[in-house]
């Protein structure tokens, strides 16, 4: 039984083809699995192992290094509150504390209805707009306690449209038309010098763009 839907399996094979070595697709495929299912299951890891030519243990070994991969169910909305230095200076820890109380969970916990998971996160690169947070990796900036409550109310009431379900990152995929592809080869099949480097042998001023 395939974990990936047939549409996603096509996407997965295309992703593998973009790298000179299939194993390089491991992290992108874990993202794809998480996009499909919200978290990474054992079946997903077994299939990714097949696609990348590694063992399932190697998939788990790599995946477990990275904080964004979840190997257990998480809420539909993952809230990451930044408490790193710039946000801490302007109330990030207090905001996290408020978030815990409002949602009734500890850091890392998921609400009983499976709607929200709360995490504290390291610097998410919005330091001038502190304190900040991300919901499913979409920013909310200069967040007050009231803003936070309003955001939760809006999500619960279905009033947000910029937040895909947890697991989806970019909603645009790179696609490379077959006739535009320069060609991706494993390193041992690409030992020739790229053709345009021959221009270095040309006399100065004779190169035509």
């Amino acid at each position: 039984m395939s974990f990936f839907t047939s549409a996603n399996l096509d996407i997965a094979r295309e992703i593998v083809s973009r790298y000179p070595a299939p194993r390089s697709a491991l992290i992108p495929l874990l993202h794809l699995a998480q996009e499909q299912h919200g978290w990474v299951t054992g079946d997903a890891m077994r299939q990714i192992a097949d696609l990348c030519g590694v063992t399932p243990a190697e998939v788990k070994g790599t995946g477990s290094f990275y904080e964004m991969f979840k190997f257990h169910p998480v809420g539909s909305y993952l809230i990451n509150v930044c408490t790193n230095i710039s946000c801490m200076l302007l109330g990030g820890e207090e905001l996290l504390d408020h978030a815990r109380q409002r949602l009734g969970v500890k850091t890392g916990g998921t609400t009983d209805d499976g709607m929200f998971t709360l995490e504290d996160v390291e610097c998410i690169a919005a330091c001038t707009e502190a304190p900040c947070l991300q919901v499913n990796y979409r920013y909310r900036l200069r967040v007050t306690n009231d803003d936070f409550d309003e955001m939760i109310d809006d999500i619960q009431a279905g009033r947000v449209d910029d937040l895909p379900r947890h697991g989806t990152l970019a909603r645009v995929r790179q696609r490379i038309p077959a006739d535009r592809l320069a060609g991706i080869l494993p390193p041992d099949k690409a030992r020739e010098a790229p053709v345009w480097l021959q221009r270095n042998n040309a006399a100065e001023d004779s190169v035509v763009g």
Binding site: F69, N84, I85, K106, C123, Y137, R171, G183
Partner: protein
């Protein structure tokens, strides 16, 4: 995609009306589209490069002294020169894994002007004969990934990327890929490990540069997003004009993110090596001073890894040399300003905790040391500190980074500055970086540590132990 419409840019960038190289298009609401890029001189840099010999493009970058903008500040043209001749294929890896505390310039460059970055990648690939480019964006930056994916799709369709670019013999594929939440992947050999589908742990040195042995064991250039974003402008305007901005040692401009207790925090494009910290923090066109009624206590001049500076450093120029001699680094262009309400121990703990969490665990001094540092600082802050703790913190620091650690002078106590960089018992600088805030604050605010250890009356209540 409808969801990728012309939404207003998230705030952050502030136009300070100075010279602009990389932020020229930032203020256009559609700055990320191919139409806007082409209407504002886009891909002219690529055309200019393709009209030259690849080696001449490399020479131009070398003579412009484009300094790497990722943190180490190594000249890109020199780094490019480390490629061993003839060992093809070569690869380009773009480091967009921006996650140094306080830093955000690459995110803006990727979100607001992805084509400028793609153009820079193409110029590097052309100059050096790189066979494929991997654009590695930080996992948490969903909008940046979306904008780059859209831009790459447009660029492929328009013939700027892929086979026979602009109908020449130059062909290269640019592949967007992204991380999954690990600060250490910003270290270039860890980034390569991650791209190979492994845990993102830095590789043992030597070789010091992946230009010798990099991705799949092949020669690989790893460049920061901002470094590459400069190349299009450079190709159009030339090295001489590039060097017209900034100082002799640090030409051009640079994006600085200033956050913390200032009136107008923001990301500013400033002249490299000329502008001073005072102008940046107090200038009318920049941050306009410390927030209402407060005094400056200290500031981080170059991201979470940099030793801290104080009032007397404000007149230093934003340039690697003087900042290094004064005991810190310019790093990734992140200035974090702290006013007199800031608890030095708490601020130190927060930065140290970051390194403890992000240590990859490969080297024992870092894996164990950063955790010890965090626990000791936490207990001092919780009112459980011991009298030996200050010395123990310094001793742990000495195990991760032996010898005098880079630190600012303390004129009141007649202590000289220790110049940058630190030594390390670890493979990468993550562990040694955790020592920066500790040494900085103990030297300057030892009394605050001692007060917390000996006088346990105002104990902050921790609501939860953070994992």
């Amino acid at each position: 995609m409808a969801t990728n419409g012309y939404v207003a840019h998230a705030p952050g960038y502030v136009d300070n009306e100075g010279p602009k190289i990389v932020s020229e298009r930032f203020s256009h609401p559609d700055s990320f589209t191919l139409a806007r890029f082409e209407a504002t001189g886009g891909y002219e840099g690529l055309r200019a490069a393709l009209a030259k010999r690849p080696a001449d493009v490399h020479d131009e970058v070398r003579s412009a002294t484009v300094l790497g903008r990722g943190g180490a500040g190594f000249p890109a043209g020199v780094k490019w020169g480390f490629l061993p001749p003839g060992r093809f294929p070569y690869y380009l890896v773009v480091n967009g894994d921006e996650s140094e505390p306080g830093t955000y310039k690459d995110r803006l460059l990727m979100e607001r002007d992805p084509h400028q970055l793609i153009e820079g990648c193409l110029i590097a690939c052309y100059a050096l004969g790189l066979s494929q480019c991997f654009l590695y964006v930080r996992g948490e930056m969903a909008l940046a990934q979306e904008r780059i994916a859209t831009a790459l799709n447009e660029a492929y369709d328009a013939g700027y990327v892929g086979r026979n670019i602009l109908d020449t013999d130059f062909s290269v594929d640019v592949v967007l890929t992204w991380g999954a939440g690990a600060y250490i992947v910003g270290e270039e050999t860890a980034l390569i490990e991650s791209l190979e589908g492994n845990r993102g742990m830095p590789r043992l040195k030597p070789p010091y540069f992946p230009a010798a042995i990099g991705l799949y064991g092949q020669p690989t250039i790893v460049n920061n997003v901002e470094t590459l974003a400069n190349l299009g402008w450079l190709m159009v305007n030339g090295a001489e004009q590039y060097k017209g901005y900034g100082s002799e040692a640090s030409p051009g401009t640079r994006l600085f993110a200033v956050s913390g207790h200032v009136r107008r925090p923001g990301v500013y494009e400033v002249e490299h090596g000329v502008t001073t910290f005072r102008e940046l923090i107090y200038g009318e066109n920049f941050c306009q001073g410390i927030r209402e009624g407060r005094e400056l206590k200290m500031f981080i001049p170059g991201g979470g890894s940099a030793p801290w500076f104080f009032e007397e450093h404000l007149d230093l120029a934003l340039e690697a040399g003087p900042v290094g001699a004064a005991g810190s680094m310019l790093g990734s262009g992140a200035v974090v300003v702290m006013d007199d309400t800031t608890d030095a121990v708490k601020a130190t703990l927060r930065v140290v905790r970051f390194f403890a969490r992000e240590s990859c665990g490969k080297c024992t001094p870092c894996r164990e040391g950063t955790t010890w540092e965090e626990r000791i600082l936490q207990r001092i802050l919780d009112g459980e500190g011991r009298h030996s703790d200050i010395d123990m913190l310094l001793d742990i620091g000495d195990n991760i980074s032996p010898g005098p650690y880079p630190v600012a002078a303390n004129p009141q106590e007649g202590l000289d500055a220790v110049p940058f960089p630190p030594k390390q018992t670890t493979i990468c600088p993550l562990g040694p970086s955790s020592v920066a805030p500790i040494v900085s604050t103990i030297r300057r605010f030892r009394h605050e540590y001692e007060a917390k250890i000996t006088r346990r009356d105002s104990i902050p209540v921790r609501t939860e132990v953070l994992q």
